[in-house]
């Protein structure tokens, strides 16, 4: 790995990565963490910093197609890799179907977990296009959400997988019909 030492004796290394399809090179110090490189050098602030210890998943990016916590990866260790951040999902201004599903199913509240969630979901669906609910919940187990309770997130991922919403959900309770006003005794079934 090529290194350059400047006048103050600070050593920097040349690192080459593909970020969202674009080849990039950067001179980084050994202690540069990937999440900071992405956010500060490339303004890709969609990737968030939460716990910075690999527990919350808000820093999740795809490294060679696999979700990893970018807070625990040194930039140098990512040399030669393909990185996808949430910004890399949008092509020509159109949202990826996972992103669209998150909007359609109200799976976003504060939005802080969302980029990581979407990337974990995307990695799951790329590998397993028709996951069970169990598989979905396991795939996002490394992404913590403090707002939503995960229900709509799971719904969104199911929708992105092309699965129809069902009246019977994992909580075991049937979603109830609603009485519409002005129509006595008529219950509106949630679309199945």
């Amino acid at each position: 790995m090529q290194a350059i030492v400047d006048q103050e004796g600070v050593r920097r290394y040349l690192v080459s990565l593909t970020i969202n399809g674009d080849p990039q090179t950067a001179m980084v110090k050994a202690n540069t963490v990937l999440v900071n490189l992405l956010r500060e050098e490339y303004d890709l602030t969609g990737t968030k910093k939460g716990c910075e210890l690999g527990d919350c998943g808000s820093c999740t990016i795809l490294l060679d197609g696999r979700p990893v916590n970018s807070c625990l990866v040194l930039a140098l260790e990512a040399d030669g890799s393909e990185i996808v951040t949430v910004e890399g999902l949008t092509e020509r201004g159109e949202l990826d179907r996972v992103q669209q599903a998150f909007l359609d199913k109200a799976a976003v509240q504060c939005g802080y977990c969302t980029p990581g969630m979407i990337l974990s979901a995307k990695a799951l669906l790329d590998r397993n296009p028709d996951p069970t609910e169990e598989e979905i919940r396991e795939a996002i187990a490394g992404n913590l959400c403090r707002c939503t309770g995960y229900v709509n997130i799971v719904r969104a991922i199911k929708a992105a997988a092309g699965q129809e919403a069902s009246t019977q959900e994992s909580t075991g309770r049937e979603t109830s019909g609603r009485e519409t006003s002005g129509e006595k005794g008529k219950k509106e079934q949630v679309a199945s």
């Binding site: 990893v68 040194l74 260790e77």
Partner: protein, 289 residues
Amino acid sequence: MYLPDFDYLAPDSLQDVCNLLAEHAPDALVLSGGTDLMVSMKHGLVEPKILVSLRNLEELRNIRHEPGTGVVIGARTTHNEIMNSPILHERYLSVSEAAHSMAATQVRNTGTIGGNIANAIPSADLPPILISLGATVTLHGCEGERTLPLEGFFTGPRKSVLKQDEVITHVTIPDHPVTGSTYLKFGLRRAGALAVVGVAAAVNMEGNTVRDCRIALGAVAPVPLRAREAEAVLKDKEWTEELLEEAGQKAAAESSPISDIRGSQEYRRDMVRIFTRRALRKAITEGHV
């Protein structure tokens, strides 16, 4: 968080790694997946001046079966690779299941078996099942290579026999007669949880007789622990629920858990009894290794 300054080297050969570790001892640390090391560095628990990365040692990242020897897992193999390995699914599914129980996808895509062992955390999930399967660990240093039983590797919390210039290269599960094995992890969540109690059991059954039995406990002693007195309860006997309970009680007595935020000493001891029973029953009756 930002890390303090350090230098970084990514040698191309194992020998170079060992030489660098020796040259810069005690200020050099090995970087494998980094999921434990980076956290320790961010917390200031370790302050290496140099990280020696294993990233160019491709030969350490694979799983293979060597006829006449056994299954060899390279130290740089990630937990997800262990979880998904067809060789392990065929021969030692319980090891894949143990890897599956760890953390979550992101950590498992990065963390490695070498790191899990080298860090010597008492609650680590891979050592118990590997110990119950009779695994050995191979270390490489400046003076050459040495192989020892995995259970002899650990000497205390975050302490092991690994020398300054040594690197774990691989773990070997020797071919041996085993009819069933399992690792049961009791954590406070289904993911992202450390083991409060971990019990691994491996048995070799002849009909209903337990010809051989190995029980290893995690998270309930300063090191992953063989529960030898529990094993002796079952050896060469026909198994019964009463014997399983007796084995569980012996295992609980052999353990020495601590009380911490995840559970009290008394609770953990009782969970050792229960999970030992469950692990033995599963290994004996479900008959998958």
